[in-house]
Symmetry: C2
Subunit: 331 residues, 2 copies
Amino acid sequence: MKTYRNTKVLITGGLGFIGSRLAHALVKQGAEVTLVDSLIPQYGGNPFNIEGIRDKVTVNVCDVRDPFAMAYLLMDKDFLFNLAGQTSHIDSMANPQTDLDINAAAQLSILEACRKANSGIKIVFASTRQLYGKPEYLPVDEKHPIRPVDVNGINKLAGEWYHLLYNKVYGIRACALRLTNTYGPGMRVKDARQTFLGIWVRLLLEGKPIKVFGDGLQLRDFNYVDDCVDALLLAGASDAANGKVYNLGSTEVVGLKKLAEVMIELGYGGTFELVPFPPERKAIDIGDYYSDFSLITQELGWQPKVGLREGLQKTMVYYHAHRHHYWDEEA
Amino acid sequence: MKTYRNTKVLITGGLGFIGSRLAHALVKQGAEVTLVDSLIPQYGGNPFNIEGIRDKVTVNVCDVRDPFAMAYLLMDKDFLFNLAGQTSHIDSMANPQTDLDINAAAQLSILEACRKANSGIKIVFASTRQLYGKPEYLPVDEKHPIRPVDVNGINKLAGEWYHLLYNKVYGIRACALRLTNTYGPGMRVKDARQTFLGIWVRLLLEGKPIKVFGDGLQLRDFNYVDDCVDALLLAGASDAANGKVYNLGSTEVVGLKKLAEVMIELGYGGTFELVPFPPERKAIDIGDYYSDFSLITQELGWQPKVGLREGLQKTMVYYHAHRHHYWDEEA
């Protein structure tokens, strides 16, 4: 893709899972990449995620809640991939104001900074399928009602809609991708704070049993991180995307028990057990979910390319090799 | 209604248009009423609105953005009528962070205070038809897609959904009414900051022409303030309302040009003129709107009782008598 060659790109959450993988892709395409990350220990940032491109990117450690830093960093950029967020649903209930500050207020201040000093920027915002809540029908398309089940969902929705509003009212080109479960090298595996798949990887590699909640029949779709990065790049490159929201997703829909079985078959050993839902998880469980992503296929030509087994294999290979960069064996 | 007798009631925005009228009704029903109002000059609060019940209510001047004051005031209340809000759509675009602080962040902190110290409280939240944006179909029922057209709409939505979420997850009884255009004694008439009907009243009484934007054929529904107060009281009294959202509305649907004609016919003189939309208004204009309010009729037995002409007449009589409490003739 020639779109990004010699352009200035800012990625918030740039040391995080998806942001860092996107940085790798953009460096390869000849972009001048700046990564913003707060490196809050509980969140997704990990400097090891940019191993191999450390000297080819600019790392700026700061928080998206810092309006002055963000205004400065945004001033001369051609693209903003706006991926920073508080992603823990449990945390959003325990500390709702923090979630609001990051997922809503900081987004608004980023957009205000663009409006005032760089209205020519193109923004791609990483949103989430969590906005749909418990599906009314499957697969879930972009017309599905919005029903967030937690504070995080409400704030992410506000953050997403600010982007669409600034596109509409001020012509600041912006679009949003509603990501489904994304997995792959670079995700937080220390615990379940970013994705349950993270802790599954760690437990498998430690030879401990995976816990599958409930009957394990809940259906999910998964995207390998490189497919997600492809979608971000396509959305950034296309003016047809401006003002739009697109679901990501996969045609491989799988139950969580089956997923655990597949991961165990990959040859790193391990077992799983079915355990009852913890009450705070049950309260926000959404049952089955998988998306209809035909809109982004039609409009931007995106399709996931990496099969689930292949993606999981790559993931296990990565963490088998680099586990000491992702968790402390003593902890 | 016996529900409110000897109960402790807090009204945010209590010196404002609807809050003060609600206070009158609650005092009459024997409630012990505390009014919170920031008295920010640009907003709706006006001490004259509680003329006649001044010594029967407690007035606490503070801002809903003050979490300590709010936590203290909420501690011992049986009911919260949560009416305070930033309502100017124009302001929400000019100062989006302020709008977020009042309409979203403060709401979250009010709910957190209830969760921590008074989870037995019943809350009625004043929401707005603005959440629906430009209608896809008419009349607009509660299932209509949510499409806010400005920062205010996005933040009001977040504020509304926090209430429903806290009802669902924590069992804090809360419901929301989506108000349509409400008018009557006590509304801000100094300018168009609260409702365009306000400035119309002032202009008529000053013998100046009313400005109707566009062709004047835009349809709207209107509720007289006492009907709105009835709905708030019914929603507060009914546990069937918990976790629900209800539209208010009217069967009298009228074009704005026609409305201007009716107001002029009331006998206070005046004229109107059709003028082109100011650009910042046009950007957020929603075309025709009127609601389907059958849900609240079925579930809570609410129906508007005051006809448009009768309500407008009462309104003009009130401002004719009390104009000097609502605007400075020199300004």
